[in-house]
């Protein structure tokens, strides 16, 4: 990411379990029409070289969002070279065979581009812009150009590596929350690439050179590995014609990217704890529970659990932690990654209270969730909160494009996101009880406590449920 948040979008939506077409099964040059949301419909097709194209018409303003999503993130890195996917994303704004260094930004800004940026996650990398409608051919041409014609200069790589080291200082070294986020993945995962931070370790960044970046580019950037999403004041046939003109001549990658040597993570059998001494003045707590991948059949119920626990001010953890004066805030995230990931509960303590106390309260609330079936009224509240968030998060062209690109990339199609949202509205109290017992059990947790330097943290909280 060049300026905004590196941390992955902590979406409220998750995936379902039905199967959807692989990109190679999409019709070439013909559109599939798929209802998206409200009055919006998506149209999807594929070029002969394998590029997937999704278009949504929205004629409310003479502008459009243009996003290019690649199926590569930190999960595709290897130990010793962590952070390469993100550092490479920075290099994509350098020169190409047809554009000098800096020209990409200058051309787009001259055309009135808004939000010309990029971001990298564990599973994907995306390049995003919004533009006035007269710049459609331009953006399509320059994006196609940098997909295959990038020049990775040694000196530019070294300078950009220093920029990324500074980004790391900003997001991790000098940020209590950033450090805890890094550490919770490091604690919860022992084998899988999700254990290392997307931004990488400083010593790994220092070790990298333009040589690795060039190899990464060749392996992971090609039309058959990308999805282009266009949302705005466009006409699908014209978009397809322009995209064909600019991307059509690009060759697909000669061979599929090597299957990443990703080791599945062994089950967690006992809780893990780590305390970080930080420059903070109130304690902080972050708990991570191992949950299944975004496309798992239980994902919808997990998302409902998240909403029940911290979806609104009447939620269980808000009541138990904030209204009682223990914490000043609490949040939950069910991270929708391609592989099994984490359900995170984060809370900032109030003055004079200890993180271990909040952990005990959370364990008690989770135990309650596994012991009793949630009432129909509480379940309905939770569904309403999720329903609202679904629409609220899809208001702009960029947000719609983000939804389509993200789910197309990590789940194979955006319909999965839609389907899982539908499934979440049908989750029952018994479903909630079952998944809470399965995934939010005490032994499945990893806990990071942020404690002010010079203080002694309280003893580790014991599970209310009496063992793992």
């Amino acid at each position: 990411m060049r300026i905004p948040s590196l941390l992955p979008v902590l979406a409220l939506l998750i995936f379902g379990c039905s199967s959807f077409p692989k990109s190679s099964e999409l019709p070439v040059g013909k559109f599939e029409r798929i209802p998206l949301i409200g009055k919006f419909t998506a149209e999807r097709t594929r070029l002969e070289n394998g590029l997937t194209l999704v278009i949504v018409q929205d004629h409310s303003s003479p502008t459009f969002a243009y996003q290019t999503w690649f199926k590569v993130g930190s999960r595709n890195e290897t130990p010793g070279y962590t952070g390469l996917a993100h550092l490479f994303e920075h290099m994509m704004f350098k020169g190409t065979k047809n554009m000098k260094d800096g020209e990409f930004d200058r051309i787009l800004e001259s055309a009135g581009a808004e939000g010309n940026n990029a971001f990298t996650s564990r599973d994907y990398t995306a390049y995003v812009q919004e533009l006035p409608i007269d710049a459609f051919d331009l953006i399509s041409r320059v994006e196609a150009d940098r997909m295959v014609n990038l020049i990775i200069d040694d000196q530019a790589f070294k300078t950009e590596r220093e920029v990324v080291q500074n980004e790391r200082r900003f997001r991790m070294e000098n940020s209590a929350d950033g450090l805890m986020y890094q550490e919770i993945f490091g604690l919860a995962f022992t084998q899988h690439p999700y254990k290392w931070p997307v931004i990488g370790y400083p010593e790994d960044l220092e070790r990298m050179s333009a040589v690795e970046a060039r190899a990464f580019y060749t392996t992971h950037y090609a039309p058959n590995l990308a999805t282009v999403v266009v949302v705005g004041d466009v006409e699908p046939n014209q978009v397809l014609a322009t995209v064909k003109k600019n991307y059509g001549p690009l060759p697909p990658s000669a061979e599929a990217p090597p299957v990443s040597p990703i080791t599945s993570e062994p089950p967690q059998k006992s809780p893990k704890h780590k305390t970080l001494k930080l420059n903070i003045q109130v304690e902080k707590l972050m708990m991570g529970y191992r949950i299944p991948e975004a496309t798992h059949p239980d994902a919808a119920a997990v998302s409902v659990v998240r909403s029940l626990l911290a979806g609104g001010k009447s939620s269980r953890l808000h009541r138990a932690l904030v209204d009682t004066g223990i914490s000043s805030g609490v949040d939950c995230y069910d991270i929708d990654d391609r592989d099994p990931s984490l359900f995170i509960i984060a809370s900032n303590l109030q003055k004079g209270h200890k993180a271990a106390q909040a952990e005990s309260v959370i364990l008690r609330e989770l135990s309650r969730l596994t012991a009793q079936v949630v009432s129909a009224q509480e379940l309905e509240r939770s569904r309403n909160i999720m329903n609202f968030a679904f629409y609220d998060d899809m208001g702009s062209s960029m947000e719609k494009a983000n939804f389509i690109g993200r789910y197309s990339t990590i789940a194979g199609s955006f319909e999965k996101g839609l389907e899982i949202f539908g499934l979440s509205q049908k989750v029952t109290g018994e479903d909630v009880k079952r998944v809470a017992a399965l995934y939010l059990r005490p032994a499945n947790r990893s806990v990071i406590i942020g404690a002010p330097k010079g203080t002694i943290p309280a003893p580790v909280a014991q599970s209310a449920g009496g063992g793992p």
Binding site: G38, F40, S60, N166, N279, H318, S328, F388
Partner: protein, 448 residues
Amino acid sequence: MIHQHRLSALMGVLLLSANANAIEIAFERDDTLPIIHMNVAIKTGSVSDPEGQYGITNFVGEMLLRGTRSRNKEQIDLELDQMGARIAIETRAEALIVRGSVLSGEIGPFLKLLTDLITQPSFPEQEVRKLKAEIVSQLLEERSSDASLSQKAFASFLFGSHPYGKPVDGNISDVEKITKERALAHFDRLFRDKQMVVIGSGDVGEAQIREWANALALARPGDVIVPKVTPPQAPAKRRLLIVDKPDRTQTQIDAGLVGVRMTDKNFFPLYLANHAYGGASFSARLTVEIRVKRGWSYGAYSYFKHGRQPRFWQYHLYPAAKYTPEALGHSITMLEKLHQEGISPDEFTFNQKSLVKSAGFMYNTPKKRIENALLERTLDLPDGFIKSFGPNLTKVTLDEVNAAAREFFDPAKLSITVLGTAKDLRDALIKNAGINPEDVKVMPYDAN
């Protein structure tokens, strides 16, 4: 009383205005998604906090959600969640905004609840105590955020005792002194129909919103009784404040000047000059010199912050600690160049074209148009002011830009804050920033 008439339909915005004694309304019908956003803004914010009660406007706003004559906090929370609705408070220097959003099918009960919160708050003692404890803890927690601490320190350093220097959420000692009586009295001063603005968009008819706003206005007649904010005094010389925090491997540099009003004749020329120096552009001088060429800082940018009176122009860098003195020195040299030489014809052409072409993105969605209307109404700007950026920037000339830059960007009056580890940086900062040691202050990061 409310008296409305249609003023204009601008990009789909239905503007309903009012006579001199009534609530103002702007609402845009948008039926593309089944959702509605409604904001009720009071046209004064933290600048109305009395001396010794900093943070009370924000406190009053938050207390609206914690009890009315007919509902306690638990009932309010349950009702909102049951509807799938959100209500949150945003406090600015010159606005207090009650922000609400709801699924369109629930608009009726939602508006009833909103009216109750705004017109019948009860400020329960227990909730006053709880909110004070939460805010104090949040202020303590904020000390872990270097960027936030630095920004607050910069505003306080630049404006001194002027209301623009106050933190909107207050400080710990003042928040701890807030009482129910003081909060109620402050509520009574602020929430009057002549100072209320209702702005929203979504899938609901205009008549329903008008009827609701009318009832709201009738319940809180009157005008706000708070002192007018006077223009701030610009510091006379270059000064440096080091916010001392241990173990920093990276610093936060905030440097700037007292700004201009958006209605100032030099506003659009300065807006263009700022864009060339450090605006939201990867081609701007600061980004190119500090980040692209040298890799010193991940971010390097500048911007204006606006108010009814001149607020500030500021640039922000966050370099590695080891590069901080050089980065600060170089940024000041660049500002001196901008002040003396202005921008080149090529820079002018590029930046003008870029700004004019992208101006449509300032108002291309209902959400953005709501924010524009909020800004225009709370800062007393003309209706459609934000939409005028493109046409106004088109008229600006290079000579106007450079004349304004010579007048405004005076590096000799720069106020600079650096959040970092003082013992490692102080001497090098003094040297690189060209500052007299007597114009340097060091303040512990947890002093306030």
